[in-house]
């Protein structure tokens, strides 16, 4: 029984990926009116032998591509794509021991219309059980690829040159998810790390760099500046991640007619609160032997949520009151509903946004402190906070612009309600955050 199983093992690699492998590549190109897939199936010697085509090569290619088409699924905004085989070709290439390998190339295409941001998904289940390399890439042509779970360049030169390296495993990517939008210019993605989205990948790389810099034997000036820059970026990314009430803040600021001063106040408050929070928690961790991070961060989450909910309540009250009062003034006169609580609300929101310290900033601080670089650590954390603030500011500004645009249109008549809507939204989010944080604690 074992001899039979072991036989598989004796087959030494002639094809770079083992002469029993069936390797798949899908090169997706999104255009404004269609999505194209160059699907390549590179079969090693044995599968080539197993599936010797009967009849002429082009007929076989056509048939094989039709079969592949059936195994490829794509969706645009949840609607299935209708793939068509545009072109099919099949060719042998010389393999080991006088045998052949084969290469099937299918050009598929499916119509879409990229007239607004679209989320596309793609999955290739062709010969799902066969072992081998599975790779997908995606690029945009005439449209902008905003977000992609797969890289833009093939790391195997479209199954022609397989990198062999002791410290990597063959990729096994069978699905892709992309967001495209009208426009041009492409934001290519970096060399692929399997199954990791772009943000995570970059964040992980940045964090690695930051840790390396802070832990370096000697901290030179350029290194120090690099570390600060890195933490700025990390902070910005961190704020772009969820959990910072930025939707709330942006909505709130927009609701307040998007005064730039308010936005700056929020940003400053967030930075201050976050820095202070990290410092205090760091201090707490250093002084007491051990702090249960779960509990501390949990409670801070509750406080933050309550704060947001409180602001929401206040906003709602004032909005309702001012609507009642301002009814006679007619439409388009929405000023004034923010006056009631002025700066306090803005600051409170900032506090809520910065209250929950980010674990990575905390770790950076603790590491720096442990290495006797406390001042530097604090600077890093400040930069981190500034980065966060920058993101929030940017979000608010974008929303303000967006708001101006929509208000110019037919949404203008919604104007009187925006304050109420904003307030309700803030309240809801606050409640949600609180409930969640409390639940995590119990």
């Amino acid at each position: 029984m074992i001899a039979a199983a072991a036989l598989a093992g004796v087959v030494l690699a002639a094809h770079p990926l083992g002469n029993f492998s069936v390797n798949h590549y899908d090169g997706l190109t999104v255009r404004h009116d269609r999505i194209e897939d160059v699907a390549i199936v590179d079969s090693a010697e044995i599968p080539t032998l197993q599936e010797q085509p009967t009849g002429p090569a082009d007929l076989h290619a056509r048939r094989a591509c039709e079969e592949l088409r059936g195994d490829v699924a794509g969706q645009a905004e949840g609607r299935a794509l209708a793939w068509r085989v545009e072109e099919a070709s099949f060719a042998y290439r010389p393999g080991a021991a006088g045998l052949r390998t084969s290469r099937l190339t299918c050009r598929l295409s499916a119509p879409i219309r990229v007239d607004r941001p679209l989320t596309l998904t793609f999955a290739n289940a062709h010969r799902a059980d066969a072992m081998g390399w599975r790779e997908i890439t995606a690029t945009g042509s005439g449209v902008r690829l905003r977000d992609s779970s797969v890289p833009s360049r093939s790391m195997s030169g479209e199954l022609r040159d397989y990198p062999s390296d002791l410290l990597s495993s063959p990729p096994d990517v069978r699905q892709a998810r992309l967001t495209v939008e009208p426009g041009s210019g492409e934001r290519g993605t970096a060399a692929s790390v399997r199954g990791v989205d772009v943000i995570t990948r970059y964040t992980g790389m940045l964090a690695d760099r930051l840790n390396a810099v802070i832990g370096a034997e000697r901290l030179t000036m350029p290194l120090g500046l690099l570390a600060l820059l890195l933490s700025l970026v990390l902070g910005a990314v961190h704020a772009a991640m969820p959990g910072h009430g930025k939707t709330v803040m942006a909505a709130y600021l927009a609701g307040r007619d998007g005064r730039l001063r308010d936005a700056c106040t929020v940003a400053a408050t967030v930075t201050l609160t976050h820095t202070a929070g990290v410092l205090v928690l760091g201090l707490l961790v250093t002084i007491t032997a051990s702090v249960a991070g779960e509990v501390v961060i949990g409670w801070l989450g509750v406080v933050s949520g309550l704060l947001i909910a409180l602001i929401g309540t206040a906003l709602l009250r004032s909005a309702l009151r001012s609507r009642k009062a301002g009814h006679g003034h007619g439409h388009g006169h929405g000023h004034g509903h923010g006056h009631g609580h002025g700066h306090r609300g803005v600051v409170a929101l900032g506090v809520a946004g910065g209250l929950v310290p980010s674990p990575s900033a905390l770790v950076v601080l603790l590491g720096a402190m442990a290495l006797g670089r406390t001042a530097f650590g604090v600077m890093t954390v400040v930069c981190y906070g500034l980065g966060m603030a920058a993101t929030l500011l940017a979000a608010a500004l974008v929303l303000r612009r967006f708001r101006n645009l929509t208000l110019a249109g037919r949404l203008r008549r919604l104007r009187p309600y925006t304050a109420t809507m904003t307030a309700a939204l803030v309240l809801l989010v606050g409640t949600g955050v609180t409930v969640r944080a409390v639940a995590a604690l119990i």
Partner: protein
């Protein structure tokens, strides 16, 4: 309308962010957070997949809230993924041994055996199809245990039959009211004491700098952290009089403790496949080529076995580590390590550590001892008013290596002892003493002290 889109995405991401928090930390902490993390894992790759018999940690300390008792916790099956159930091996005897004479022979053995409460043979829990989310899942297959107390010259005494093994927390659908399940798994023992058996959050933590130094010779952030995963714990709280020689804990206060797992071979005989007393002993003191053998050795054979004694007197790892941190390890023979690991601290044997702390020679009714590797606890050491995680290195006589508390930073202590403390000057600053700790699940103040299982990362 854009509210809807951004709002729901935000909610999604909010959930994601919460669950990434811990993993972010672990990812940032880098290579330290791997299999080498808990104390006894980077020894034998043969144990790699045989997790059921993988003893990760052993703790023994005077119960802080109940000082007439001693708490012993043996942890098995480390690195359990939250939400995923793991079983004990039903053909293995999990044992905690107490030696109160210093010979390496167990005076008392507490033996757990498990049985799966299912009429049909089922695949081990971790194999049965189960996703981590609530969804269509087969019902949890529970296990129950029998706890037997074995004493030399006395008939075996069954303390618990059909005991409830706390499963892991799989969420409200399958394990509703989890804290009640935990309560159900804590029960009183006849003759005093308590037992808890089941899954809990792994209380182990270590200093990343110490782990990396000990293992890779790399410096790292000196930050203490744990693993946000679960273990299967066997916890006992026992009256001191039950453990002490002659039942007299004031005259014979020292006991040596270790845990073993013995699996039934194809005959009816059980083979000891795992042994753990002092943390790190197997992978730091015993050379790689002998680690499997150490797992099969009984302490009573330590002295004659020709492995434990010589390895302790001249541990290869001491030189390696000393080179890495630019220190000088004391020259062999390491009588200090012998005292720490094999005899306990005593002034009666002219050892380099002049202190009467936890050698069986301190027992009134003991006259001679063997050199055996056990975790020795002096039950009469008063509770420290302010427990110090550095144990005896900071003058906290109640801490490791006098027993081991949940708060003791044993990896760092072992590292420093390897470099010569407390007999000599050593290198106290090899790991920053003020390094902060960042732990996710706090231990509690009463038996079994272990936190409820980690569910998803918070």
């Amino acid at each position: 309308m854009h509210h809807t889109g951004s709002q729901s995405r935000r909610a999604w991401l909010l959930i994601g962010a919460a669950s990434t928090a811990v993993l972010t930390t672990t990812a940032l902490l880098g290579p330290a957070m791997r299999a080498g993390e808990a104390t006894s894992h980077w020894d034998a790759p043969a144990t790699f997949a045989d997790k059921q018999i993988d003893a990760s940690d052993l703790y023994a300390f005077t119960s802080p809230e109940n000082p007439d008792t001693v708490t012993i916790i043996a942890d098995y099956i480390p690195f359990q993924i939250p939400h995923k159930p793991y079983d004990f091996d039903t053909n293995t005897r999990y044992e905690v041994h107490i030696d109160n004479t210093g010979t390496g022979r167990p005076a008392i053995t507490y033996r757990w055996t498990f049985k799966t409460n299912s009429p049909l043979p089922v695949a081990p829990s971790s194999i049965r199809k189960r996703t981590h989310q609530a969804g269509p899942v087969d019902s949890l297959v529970e296990q129950s245990y029998t706890l037997t107390k074995l004493q030399e010259g006395k008939p075996a005494q069954t303390l618990v039959t059909n005991g409830y093994v706390a499963p892991t927390d799989i969420g409200p659908l399958i394990t509703p009211g989890y804290s009640r399940l935990r309560q159900k798994a804590v029960r009183d023992l006849p003759g005093g004491g308590k037992v808890f058996t089941g899954t809990a959050a792994d209380p182990f933590y270590s200093d990343n700098d110490a782990v990396n130094t000990l293992r890779f010779g790399l410096r790292f952030f000196p930050i203490k952290s744990g693993v946000p995963m679960n273990v299967s714990s066997l916890a006992l709280q026992l009256p001191k009089s039950e453990l002490a020689l002659g039942g007299d804990a004031s005259a014979n206060p020292v006991v040596g403790i270790w845990t073993t797992a013995s699996r039934k071979s194809l005959g009816s005989d059980h083979r000891q496949v795992s042994r753990l007393g002092n943390p790190n002993f197997n992978e730091v003191i015993i050379p790689l080529v002998e680690r499997d053998r150490f797992n099969t050795l009984r302490p009573e054979n330590d002295e004659s076995g020709g492995l434990v004694g010589p390895s302790t007197l001249d541990p290869h790892q001491a030189k390696v580590v000393a080179d890495r941190v630019n220190a000088q390890a004391p020259p062999a023979p390491r009588k200090d390590l012998e005292e720490i690991y094999l005899t306990g601290l005593t002034t009666q044997r002219d050892g380099p550590i002049k202190e009467d702390l936890n050698s069986h020679l301190l027992n009134r009714d003991v006259s001679g001892i063997s050199r055996v590797e056990e975790l020795r606890l002096n039950m009469s050491t008063p509770l420290a008013a302010k427990p110090d995680k550095w144990g005896i290195l900071k003058g906290d006589k109640q801490g490791y290596p006098n027993g081991r508390r949940l708060i003791d930073d044993v990896v760092t202590i072992n590292l420093r002892m390897l470099l010569g403390e407390p007999a000599g000057k050593g290198k106290p600053d090899v790991v920053d003493e003020n390094s902060p700790a960042f732990l996710w699940k706090p231990i509690s103040g009463s038996f079994p002290y272990l936190a409820l299982p980690v569910t998803a990362a918070p």
